[in-house]
Amino acid sequence: MVEILTVRNLSKQFGSKKAVDDISFSVTRGAVMGLLGPNGAGKTTAIRMIMGILPADRGEVTFSFNGTPGRLDKSKVGYLPEERGLYYDVRVLDNLVYLSALKGKPAAHARREGMAWLKRLGLANYAFQKLEKLSKGMQQKVQFIASVLHQPQLVLFDEPFSGLDPVNQDFMKQVIRELQADGVTILLSAHQMHLVEELCDSIFLINHGREVLSGTLQDIKRRYKENTVELRFSPSQDTSFLKTIPGMRVLKEGPGEASLRYGGTLTPSELVQLLGNRMELQEITVAKPPLHEIFIETVKERGECGETAGHAESSTLGVC
């Protein structure tokens, strides 16, 4: 596996606040890597340092576009910043052609490819309109096109789904998958973990600028010792025994259903058998918890304060 981007011991401090604290990771060519963490975790600062927009206090970032490690070649990298921005008083296609020209692409190529992308994202009719005439979601799509139009080898998407409605979030995920299928390497940052965990081949979770977890999604889940257990049963069932099972925690219990967390020594099949012997079950699910719960539990175990935002987006993380 060839690494296209390697980050070693990267650190950045603003005043007394350590925004990024000694993080190291690498991205394999053709892979999608998620840089995940709550708001203010240091994701954007890390990405800006990778893009050379912010100087690092310490650490090293190396790229390997043609097999030889070297410095950043901006023409080979695409970037969708968290702070979206284009020329609002300029026509959509002119925006795209200029930004592509700065990446070294000839105007004719950018115009042709730009039109193709606009068509693909349903914006062909707006190509010659000023950007300010477009809705916010449409502008975001134009911004997305600007980051990939020059056919980069590596793309950094900083919070690519924020501001998009669920339909467009799904659409954007599909486009990212297509980019990956075309061989583009992707590093994306997000705080909505449920949106990206299915997209990513590997994940790097940070909090307060420090690494919390990293690896493939499967590895992270395998390493996490607890399972979630969801039960459905007749409301008349006695469930008081559940609390007596070593390693079992009851998270939520209602008439005919219970959500549990199991961290004991039994395997999932042994646990299913045990519960089946003690009560009449209508439905049972034993699975590793979602990534955001693993993140929160890990942060709590380390004594760092982590919490879920707990409303509409249950997997949106916040810190206290």
């Binding site: 912010l54 206090d57 970037y79 910043p81 702070e83 921005g85 020329y87 200029y98 020209a101």
Partner: protein, 402 residues
């Protein structure tokens, strides 16, 4: 630094801004306003001088009135003589508008030189038309009374002009004075107008967040240089339009065929114009990067807008004493160098070494301001929601801030 990237930015800025309403308004409206203002002033003065008016004259000397009448015979002012007893009636007639006013010439007035002219409204500018006529007539009357013959009087009253010539015998060239002075004014106007467009453009890019995208493709130095070159080209076009309109209008009053404008006359002024323009533009761009929005221009950084104007405030002192010690010092203080040197060029012939030294200071300061500007630009431009303090700017320049 990549020249290619700089030129791409320059081209973009040029094409985008040449179509902008602000630039078009400033470029086209300014000469139109100047021409309209000039024409109104000229026509107003001309019409006041050409307006026919009747003036009553009470001449107690008995001999001055014919001289005055003769002098005014080719002017639109007609005179009618009255006796001293008619004063009260004349006051009524002036009040009624029959006469523009009445002159009362007495022996005492001739002796003291204070000739009263009574009008309905003392702010009436038509009185100007009488001034020279009265001065001439009283002088001629005095000389005739002193016993001089008419030929002697003509000789005495013939105009005297001090002709300033160089040691080589050449007459003073007002072109030599006019070119640097006109270039100074145009430089200050162009720098302020297009500099403001540049400054607000940088602020807008910061507010629109586009700048982060740009910096992900090119360096801050290339971005800043590209902007400066783009705006320098815009400024050049603006100035060309202003000058073309100015010369076209001036050609109606001045015979340009008699002027000999050599490259040597123009070259120093043009060099200081270009250098000065780049210097002010780099200052404005850097200031724009430190500000959050247009309202912030009223704060400390906004004061950079008036830097080009500062030497103009002392322009008359600089022209009166172009080689005074403080003026020489001001010539080597970078932000003031171009305007001060141009004003001095208008007032005197500067030694070549002084022009060269000032030019060197200006080139170095342009390089310094561009590099410092890029550093401030680089560090400030991502601080979207606030204005950078002067202290922070100092730390940025000392590389203590990131």
């Amino acid at each position: 630094m990549r020249l290619q990237d700089t030129l791409k930015v320059a081209r973009w800025e040029f094409v985008k801004n040449i179509k902008s309403p602000t630039f078009l308004a400033l470029t086209l409206a300014m000469p139109i306003l100047m021409v309209i203002g000039g024409l109104v002033g000229y026509l107003g003065t001309a019409s006041a001088q050409k307006e026919a008016q009747q003036v009553a004259v009470i001449d107690e000397t008995g001999a001055l009135y014919p001289i005055l009448k003769d002098y005014l015979s080719t002017s639109p002012v007609t005179t009618i003589a009255f006796a001293a007893a008619d004063r009260d009636r004349l006051s009524d007639e002036v009040r009624a508008g029959t006469y523009a006013g009445y002159l009362h010439i007495t022996q005492e007035a001739v002796l003291t030189g204070n000739v009263p002219y009574y009008v309905k409204d003392t702010r009436d500018q038509r009185a100007v038309a009488l001034s020279e006529a009265v001065r001439y007539s009283v002088t001629r009357y005095r000389l005739l009374q002193a016993g001089l013959s008419p030929d002697q009087v003509r000789l005495v009253t013939a105009p005297v002009v001090l002709q300033v010539r160089s040691l080589a015998g050449e007459a003073a060239s007002w072109v030599e004075m006019l070119v640097p002075y006109a270039v100074t004014l145009i430089l200050v106007l162009a720098a302020i107008f297009s500099g403001q467009v540049l400054m607000y453009g940088v602020m807008k890019e910061k507010r629109n967040r586009i700048v982060e995208i740009l910096l992900s493709s090119i360096s801050s130095l290339d971005l800043l240089l590209g902007k400066l070159l783009g705006f320098a080209a815009l400024g050049l076009i603006q100035v060309t339009i202003w000058m073309a309109v100015g010369l076209a209008v001036a050609a109606r009053f001045i015979d340009f065929g008699r002027l000999s404008l050599s490259a040597a006359d123009l070259a120093p002024a043009v060099l200081f114009f270009v250098g000065g323009y780049l210097l002010f533009a780099s200052l404005y761009a850097a200031a724009g990067a430190t500000m959050k929005d247009a309202e912030e221009t009223s704060q400390a950084q906004g004061l950079v807008l008036i830097i080009p104007m500062i030497p103009l405030f002392t322009a008359s002192a600089i022209i009166m004493a172009p080689n005074a010690f403080w003026v020489r010092v001001l010539s080597f203080v970078p932000p003031f160098t171009p305007v001060t040197v141009l004003l001095r060029m208008a007032a005197t012939t500067l030694p070549w070494w002084e022009i060269a030294a000032a030019f060197a200071v200006m080139v170095l300061s342009v390089a310094f301001f561009i590099i410092a500007g890029a550093r401030i630009f680089d560090r400030s431009i991502l601080q979207y929601d606030r204005t950078i303090s002067l202290r922070e700017i100092g730390r940025m320049l000392r590389r203590e801030y990131s």
